[in-house]
Symmetry: none
Amino acid sequence: MTKKKSNQGVEILAIGTELLLGNILNSNAKWLAEQLALIGLPHYRQSVIGDNVERLKEIILEISQRSQILITTGGLGPTPDDLTTETIAQLFQTKLVEHKTILEDIKKKLNGLNQLLESNLKQSLLPEGANILPNPLGTAPGMIWSPKDNFTIITFPGVPSEMKKMWEETVKPWLIKKQPSNKIFKSKTIKIAGIQESVLTEKIADLLKKKNPTVATYASLGEVKIRITAQAKTNQEANRIINPIEYELEKIFGTSIFGKDEETLASILIDLLRKRGETISLAESCTGGQIASAFTSIPGSSDVFLGGVVAYNNSIKQNILKVPLNLLEKHGAVSSAVAMAMARNTRQLFHSDWSIATSGIAGPSGGSKNKPVGLVEIFISGKTSEESIQENFGSYRGRDCIQKLSVVRALDRLRLFMLKQS
Amino acid sequence: MTKKKSNQGVEILAIGTELLLGNILNSNAKWLAEQLALIGLPHYRQSVIGDNVERLKEIILEISQRSQILITTGGLGPTPDDLTTETIAQLFQTKLVEHKTILEDIKKKLNGLNQLLESNLKQSLLPEGANILPNPLGTAPGMIWSPKDNFTIITFPGVPSEMKKMWEETVKPWLIKKQPSNKIFKSKTIKIAGIQESVLTEKIADLLKKKNPTVATYASLGEVKIRITAQAKTNQEANRIINPIEYELEKIFGTSIFGKDEETLASILIDLLRKRGETISLAESCTGGQIASAFTSIPGSSDVFLGGVVAYNNSIKQNILKVPLNLLEKHGAVSSAVAMAMARNTRQLFHSDWSIATSGIAGPSGGSKNKPVGLVEIFISGKTSEESIQENFGSYRGRDCIQKLSVVRALDRLRLFMLKQS
């Protein structure tokens, strides 16, 4: 049954019965696929299999016959149904050996516990000859192991944050070094808010047909990313391929581009405020703390983001933000007038240079004919100028989506407003 | 190379290069997996393959040798890289025949266009002998076809809404009728906070070995889910299988169980507060609005969740929450004394029955020997009783993780505190 290796590339195998039961999305495979594409490693197949020794052996044997590298996720935990490592060792008839360094690391991470748990012991076992793939964030290390010629297995735990860190620190550099061609892939991501993906792609139809660099768009809630990917021999060559396209996109989309690569709307605003020596505060109703969460996810943001009030119940708008009762009664909580009072009063209360207020109907109930679910009022109050924004995100999108779109819109409108001012 | 069919079940194959590039999540496979579990059809493997004739033939041939039913998604559209139907026909050496009824249907759906597009013509072709799987929402029909004994292929388009409609209207009833056994699967999920997965699994080692129901654990940040899954002929029988295990878990874990199935810590607290006719407010520093976001993600929460103050910058703790300067100077912002003042003053300010305050060092910088990154102070202030909680989540987990663990811990400790009181 020996077979010529038909794929000669990488395969991804996600291990876990919860995936076969449809309990969770296989977001790990998507993330790894994206990373493999970025470093230019061909990847032709993905599989999912349950926590079952026989089926796991069967599929790994198949993959070892057709591909060079197998990347697995899942099954490295301490429970009995975590059986990736021991099954691989069995399949390739190799004994497991204990690694003292892993044991020491696990002990450190479980320092709240008096002694190492029996179940964690198995996490220190790897097949003889396998290299430890260190896990800086959890107790489950992975491995990089070539059980036979021209076939390497790389195992990751299923926890996405751990997998990502292990990829960045160990696996990515290892794969890049191992690659036969000297080609590198380099990407630049341009981030845009406030333009629909279909409208955007029509404007760059020609660019989307290019071969090197490739240009592709990815939409998420309220934002679109355009990724330029160049294949080149050196970093400098890659830059020479990317730069003219980046410049062209800047010409086409101008200030609609809010950031690049790892930048987020919140990080861009924090930078902008810091440069201007200004501060901001928030009065959140329908966004319920999500704008504050976006700012506070940025390390060191407390020098410009002072804080905010989540004025969810109307009594708080009145008592703490001092929105006059007659304003609430006359216009309703979701109105430009109330959002204005919320923003102005919060700016005074926090002694900040800027304030944003949000008030809207996130649903599913609470809508009316004049004020349907999806209606959101945003008010930006600055020292010398103000802006009132009304959005209708529609009811069909659902509560979670309306809240998230409101966050993106509020941050982006503040960004544009500040740019106009400077 | 004939092989005994090892799986005897269903496989899912998602077709599309965009999946291999990591451009989109394979949400179709998750959805179908869930649906298959609900009707009790065993499903042992999922695969993803690109838009490539040879690789597609190779994988479908493999699947036809080991499984009884193959469900594919994608590759039914009008563009040249949509090649599912013709590739399957080629593989099983069957000619394609044109279906007038499909053509009529496509014409109706494209009525904005004067004439049928050339590219849509191919959507009316199916292998001879295949049954049309109607697509009420789009121009791409699927098929149900048995190209050989004991093997059936069901093709869906990749558009999730179309696939779901076609599943509900045609495929689901067809599969239920075809099923040899009348078994159904039913699951119950028990949710636990405050116990590490490894500790938890040791306590239920025996249960984890059971066959019907099966018992499995899934960990996420600060929480562990235990899922009990029964296979039975009727819903009542499934309940009879699940109930004793559920009862046993309740005995073992008691109040550490915060909820079941779709319940979340936030939804449970909102319910608990509503039953008691009590309200809550928040003073968030290190969690920066994330506890508020958790509450406001629950529709209708504004009757018990009044709102909160995100006191991120220390000036806000002083000016708005009236934390005395000498307290801040003497103990530092991350201290039990300051968290207490924040919680107490917020409860007064908002006139709420309860208040939670958080203050911690989420990092990556700002830590010291006495107050390392990962140290979090939580204070619960009630009308008649209070609790101070200190946690050290460790610095290795990173900012995002420390913030999320703080949210889970704060909500869970409030829940336990309220239960003790009643």
